[in-house]
């Protein structure tokens, strides 16, 4: 059996598998809908910082009694807040009469939170003390709660800086505005990305999702495709032909890889077209990385194939493996957010490196030399796993 024959047979088998795939309308629809669904789900539903939260109902309570009936800092505060909110649309601001009312409305679920200015606010400030503002949040929704806290703290911070600046100027009229600001707030932060633009959560998630889909499609598709044919009995048709077992494996892998790449391309198209993701790096490198990812997973797919007798087991096993893999590989959350032992596990998952490298290329515009470590690790994974898998597979095929 020459290598040429092995490859010829595997191409035939891949062609046959793809024919079956393309003639299966339902399967095709799922093939396209699945990545779309994934994108929309994780992209829209998964909280992606403050940006996606809007129209949170927030009540303002002004109990401020003022000071000598003159200037009310609390008014300034509300005006500022209102003008900021007009731009972001994050909150729907209403007014309420007291802290008790706000608490009650939050408990009823009619408000996401409230801002209460106590009666001594103006007095404290104008008499040289610190003014306090109370923020009421809905603790049953930590996401919203944290957002409100962050946003309002930002507003207060800005306001107190401005007020302090005014106070400094009052105390020492010889200073100019800038110097006054530097006295109040000697440090400021300016953050600058490696590439221009402001990446969204989609930019973070699209590469990982692509890597995951393509690699999973091989890891799950291969055992399912093979056990499906074993169950149907059609596998015997290939096995009684003078065909090297390697051809069967290779053909099936090819077909599944192509299927995965099609899905990956769909995700990419959706990411660019609908979700406005920009690709900074070389698109060929993106696909090359996906292929390498597949290579690193093939062995695992084969091992699983060898140990599963029927399609049902194969599918169940896949589910069990897929979920932890999905979350541990930093596709949805940065690995750095995870507890130590989880991070340790993630280092053993090829998906981690594939997603990471892909992200570097797609978001940061990295080239081959900048992802050489990942490339090396993925190749190593692939070689080792295949070396383990082939003998196992051979044994399984002649049971």
């Amino acid at each position: 059996m020459t290598a040429q024959t092995i490859i010829k047979h595997s191409l035939r088998i891949a062609w046959k598998d793809l024919m079956e795939l393309f003639r299966n309308r339902m399967g095709l629809v799922l093939l396209i809908v699945m990545p779309l669904f994934m994108m929309v789900m994780v992209g829209f539903i998964y909280p992606s910082g403050g940006a996606s939260l809007n129209n949170m109902p927030i009540a303002m309570v002004n109990e401020d009694a003022g000071f000598n009936g003159s200037y009310l800092p609390s008014q300034t505060f509300f005006t500022t807040l209102q003008s900021i909110n007009d731009q972001t649309g994050m909150m729907t601001l209403t007014t309420a009469s007291s802290l008790e009312e706000v608490t009650d409305l939050v408990q009823r679920g009619e408000l996401s939170g409230g801002i209460v200015i106590p009666s001594n606010f103006s007095q404290s400030i104008l008499s040289g003390e610190q003014g306090t503002i109370i923020i009421v949040t809905d603790q049953s929704n930590p996401q919203i709660s944290a957002t409100i806290n962050a946003v309002l703290s930002g507003v207060f911070d800005g306001m107190s800086t401005a007020m302090a600046q005014q106070n400094v100027l009052l105390m020492n009229p010889t200073l100019n505005q800038t110097t006054a600001l530097a006295v109040v707030k000697p440090l400021t932060v300016q953050s600058q990305g490696v590439v221009p633009g402001n990446p969204s959560y989609f930019d973070f998630i699209a590469p990982g999702l692509m890597a995951m889909t393509v690699m999973m499609s091989v890891m799950t598709g291969l055992p399912v495709a093979i056990s499906h044919e074993k169950e149907l009995g059609t596998m015997d048709g290939m096995m009684v032909a003078p065909v090297n077992r390697l051809s069967i494996l290779l053909g099936k892998t090819l077909a599944q890889t192509l299927r995965g790449l099609i899905q990956g391309a769909i995700i990419l198209a959706l990411a660019i077209g609908i979700f406005g993701v920009a690709i900074q790096g070389n698109i060929l490198l993106v696909f090359a990385l996906l292929l390498l990812g597949v290579f690193s997973f093939v062995g695992l797919g084969i091992v699983i194939t060898s140990f599963t007798k029927d399609q049902e087991t194969a599918q169940m096993l896949m589910m069990t493996l897929m979920f932890p893999m999905m979350f541990l590989s930093g596709v949805f959350f940065p690995i750095q957010q995870m507890p130590g032992f989880m991070q340790a596990i993630s280092h053993f998952l090829p998906l981690t490196y594939a997603a990471d490298a892909l992200r570097k290329v797609m978001v940061l515009g990295a080239g081959v030399s900048q992802i050489s470590t990942e490339l090396l690790i993925l190749t190593g994974f692939g070689v080792v796993m295949i070396a383990i898998a082939l003998p196992v597979f051979r044994k399984m095929m002649t049971r």
Binding site: R12, K16, M19, N24, G233, T234, D236, M238, V240, A241
Partner: protein, 338 residues
């Protein structure tokens, strides 16, 4: 091969864990013969065929096809054989032609030859009209015909058929049987088929191996197998008792001259007996118990009777009782204790 045997099986054994599915069987099949493996469900027929077609490795023993060992020379063996297995080896989403083309390619048949052969084979089973239709739309009979010609793409010297008429209507069964016969006569293809249906075995096979619990318990031509019964002083009696009661039935079974009793209908029994005075003994007994005999006749033995006679149980999963005491007289192997 030197002695005209295309298949030689020696001490072939297959175990699954502790369970022995095929138990040390040996036989040979002559070139151009139609050889049948007849036995009930779970007898080990399919497992035997799978070993003979390199799909499964024997636990012990060897099998050679055309002189090639099924384990050591599996690739050579595969070129010589075609298999029609229990499950149809056919892709529903591919057309008739695409299916045949795919499998033909796996046998490295040159394109032109393959196209010609596909057309011939489709014509042979009257499927030419459906050449470009997806197989999923075919009837069971059509699919089975596809399944059979798929196995013939490489013009095998040996064709294995595992329950080829299973699930087919009588009409399609006849068609398949005639096709197999024709193939055997015209191409000289050696055929090994498994079946649990007596007609298949009776009508098709030159020789039949009766298999039970993984062992071959008898191997001969259909005629000779039947002689096991008709040659000895054994008879098959059809007995109809209008008022058959369990009491009468058990009394009959208890008789010395009875080998096996199958209850066919509420009033009808099929009895295998031995001894010259068996007829009288039964009539006397039934009368004494108040039974009313409405009909009693002598039947030609069928393979079913032979099976029942040697194994003591029915091929079909109907109730069959065995009276084993007399069985050894006929040289049948000892009943296995279960």
């Amino acid at each position: 091969m030197d002695n005209g045997n295309i298949i030689e099986v020696k001490n072939l054994t297959k175990t699954f864990g502790k369970f022995t599915a095929v138990d040390d069987i040996s036989f040979s099949v002559k070139k151009g013969e139609i050889f049948g493996l007849l036995g009930p469900n779970g007898a080990g027929k399919s497992t035997t065929l799978r070993m003979l077609s390199t799909l499964s490795q024997p636990t012990k023993g060897t099998a050679t096809i055309g002189g090639y060992d099924t384990v050591k020379n599996d690739m050579q063996v595969r070129k010589l054989i075609g298999i029609v297995s229990e499950k149809m080896i056919i892709y529903n989403r591919l057309t008739a032609k695409e299916n045949l083309y795919f499998f033909g390619n796996l046998f490295n048949i040159p394109k032109d030859t393959l196209n010609k052969r596909i057309d011939e084979l489709l014509e042979l089973v009257k499927l030419t009209k459906f050449k470009n239709a997806q197989v999923g739309t075919f009837s069971t009979g059509m699919r089975q015909r596809m399944n059979v010609i798929r196995a013939l793409l490489n013009m095998p010297q040996v064709l294995y058929l595992d329950e080829p008429t299973l699930g087919l209507d009588p009409q399609s069964s006849v068609e398949i049987r005639e096709f197999i016969k024709k193939l055997n006569q015209e191409q000289g293809t050696t055929v090994v088929l498994t079946t649990h249906m007596m007609v298949d075995a009776d009508l098709l096979c030159d020789r039949i191996a009766i298999v039970d619990h993984g062992k071959i318990i008898a191997l001969d031509t259909s005629t000779n197998l039947k002689k096991i019964i008709s040659g000895a002083d054994t008879m098959i009696i059809n007995l109809e008792i209008a008022n058959l009661t369990p009491d009468i039935l058990s009394a009959i079974k208890a008789l010395d001259c009875i080998d096996a009793v199958t209850q066919e209908t509420a009033a009808q029994l099929r009895i295998i007996v031995h001894g010259e005075d068996a007829f009288d003994t039964i009539v006397d007994l039934v009368r004494k118990r108040g039974g009313k005999i409405t009909s009693m006749s002598n039947l030609q033995p069928t393979l079913e009777d032979v099976f029942l006679h040697i194994t003591g149980h029915d091929v079909r999963d109907t109730v069959a009782e065995k009276i084993s005491t007399e069985r050894r007289r006929f040289g049948a192997p000892q009943a296995r204790v279960r």
